[in-house]
């Protein structure tokens, strides 16, 4: 699917994930006001608002954003598990890209400590899809063990990915994990084992958070006298197709084919190749994911991801800087807002405003996120 109208990121905002105790309402309003100020457009002119949350009670959200102004605009809640933020951005982008609107806003948020969503297995009449004895981390760990069996990947490689993301997070004031000193591979390997081979430092924390984005058309840029700096060149939403070894229970992130299909359809829409990417955001809830996704999205050939890590090519100064804000492992993964945090980071990187973690002149950025069930979103942002 291509856009009828060009879509630009006008403004982004984000509250620090995790961190000191803070009401979710306050986080939402702070992130939203930052995005509004960053965009330089009046909230009253926003034509549609998409609220992303995967954990909040059904009526939570619209009452909170009343504090931004009772403008009468359409407000729609979006939910797609871990990919909720990606879905929220996707809907806002489609609204503008289709030519239907000139100004749309996405706000996403969650506080896992106050989740209102019951466990699947506790709902009468719904078949359990997640066995409590095979928790999400077990699935990713089984990916890792299979990878070790097939390609000789070691726990050290997974620890190198995690250490990179921890240390990138040290440069991001909005990251949940703020280590006071450099995190070494040894410290990652020495942390508490969760499910072999993943240790606690190879897994994402889940503090509360909120993030917001405003997208607009070329007409909106002209109306408000805004210079275009970041354009959305691709927005792709995908779900599973049947594959050998298909799983129908568990924390299903989907077969590799879906991961790959989402990325490559985005490249096609944007008219770029994987080698054109200068900054990449992944769903690195567990370290094995980032390693496998290097290959799925075409940063290297299948089986070559380990070499990419050991050669430093995914570090801030490498050929393909990934998880530059710390990723899920360092920045955190509240659930709902995580996808918009990816957009926040790519936007700053493409503007050249990412501070100490700025990579050198990125032209294209990929935000790639999956959600249990399973779904996958891929967005490409381009500096202009």
């Amino acid at each position: 699917m291509s856009f009828s109208n060009d879509v630009f990121v006008l403004g982004v905002g984000m509250s620090r994930f995790g961190g000191p105790a803070q009401q979710l309402d306050e986080r939402i309003i702070a992130a939203s006001l930052e995005a509004i100020e960053d965009a330089g457009v009046p909230y009253a002119d926003v034509e549609s608002l998409y609220l992303g949350t995967s954990l909040a009670a059904s009526t939570y959200g619209p009452p909170v954003v009343k504090d931004l102004g009772l403008t009468g605009l359409p407000v729609t809640r979006i939910e797609n598990a871990s990919a909720t933020g990606g879905a929220t951005f996707y809907e806002a982008v489609q609204a503008v890209g289709s030519g239907r609107l000139d100004l749309a806003m996405g706000i996403a948020f969650d506080d896992p400590s106050t989740s209102a969503v019951p466990d699947f297995n506790e709902v009468e009449g719904i078949s359990p899809v997640l066995d409590p004895f095979v928790p999400p981390m077990a699935f990713f760990s089984m990916w890792a063990v299979r990878r070790m069996h097939e390609a000789g990947t070691t726990a050290e490689t997974l620890a190198m990915i995690a250490a990179k993301n921890w240390n990138n997070a040290r440069l991001n004031p909005n990251a949940e994990r703020q280590a006071t000193e450099e995190i070494t591979v040894e410290r990652v390997l020495g942390s508490r084992m969760l499910a072999y081979p993943h240790t606690a430092r190879m897994a994402a924390p889940q503090g509360a958070g909120a993030a917001a984005v405003i997208v607009g058309s070329k007409k909106a840029l002209e109306r408000y006298g805004i210079a275009a700096r970041v354009r959305v060149t691709a927005a792709q939403a995908h779900s599973e197709r049947y594959a050998d070894g298909h799983l129908f229970t568990g924390a299903i992130i989907g077969p590799p084919e879906m991961i790959e299909r989402a990325a490559f359809s985005a490249y096609e829409q944007a008219g770029i190749e994987p080698t054109d990417l200068g900054v990449i955001a992944f769903h690195d809830a567990y370290a094995i994911e980032e390693l496998l996704y290097y290959e799925s999205v075409g940063l290297c050939a299948p089986g070559d991801g380990d070499g990419l890590v050991h050669d430093g090519q995914t570090q801030l100064g490498g050929r393909f800087p990934t998880s530059t804000d710390g990723g899920f492992i360092g920045r955190g993964h509240p659930s709902g807002p995580t996808g918009l945090a990816q957009i926040w980071e790519l936007t700053h990187q493409l503007r050249g405003t990412a501070g100490d973690r700025q990579v050198a002149n990125p032209r294209n950025g990929l935000a790639h996120i999956v959600g249990g069930g399973s779904v996958c979103y891929a967005h490409i942002l381009q500096s202009v």
Binding site: D119, N121, E122, E124, G125, S127, P128, D131, P132, F133, V134, P135, P136, M137, A138, F139, S141, M142, W143, A144, V145, R146, H149, R192, M193, L194, A195, Y196, P197, Y242, G245, H246, L247, F248, T249, G250
Partner: protein, 142 residues
């Protein structure tokens, strides 16, 4: 435990069951048009959208991958009662059966990718005096 009654496992439909002697039945679906086997049972064939029929699946399998969970999820008890953790695995059921995510019995050293595993009943607790069991797999050699 009552013969051929589904395992007492939190309101689930019959995904597996045990008889009085602990023999395991794994309940799945077979696509009427494609013959593809699914677990757990489906309402329709996910590949064709067509009808499915109930079927019993093989109780032997090949280990595709495994892990050893040290920290039970959300404070749940470990199914084997071992505070050091328990095994989990992805197993491919024989006779072109589907892949399942299951609990594995045994030590991590006994989990070898490509080896044959067999379905077992694993009692793990009682609720109001009623035994609660789950489906697990263990290495065939043990």
């Amino acid at each position: 435990m009552t013969t051929n009654e589904p395992a007492q496992r939190s309101k689930s439909p019959a995904q597996y069951s045990f008889d009085d002697h602990g023999a395991v039945s794994i309940h799945g679906s077979k696509s009427d048009s494609l013959g593809t086997l699914y677990w757990p049972p489906r309402l329709r064939c996910p590949r064709s959208g067509g009808t499915v029929s109930p079927t019993l699946l093989s109780t032997t399998a090949t280990l595709y991958s495994w892990s050893f969970v040290v920290m039970p999820w959300r404070g749940d008890v470990a199914p084997n009662g071992n505070p050091d953790g328990y095994g989990v695995g992805l197993v491919d059921l024989d006779d072109d059966g589907p892949r399942m995510a299951v609990v594995l019995m045994g030590d991590a050293e006994s989990f070898v990718i490509g080896e044959t595993f067999e379905a077992r009943e694993l009692p793990f607790t009682t609720v109001d005096g009623n035994p609660q069991s789950i489906l697990a797999f263990e290495p065939s050699a043990s």
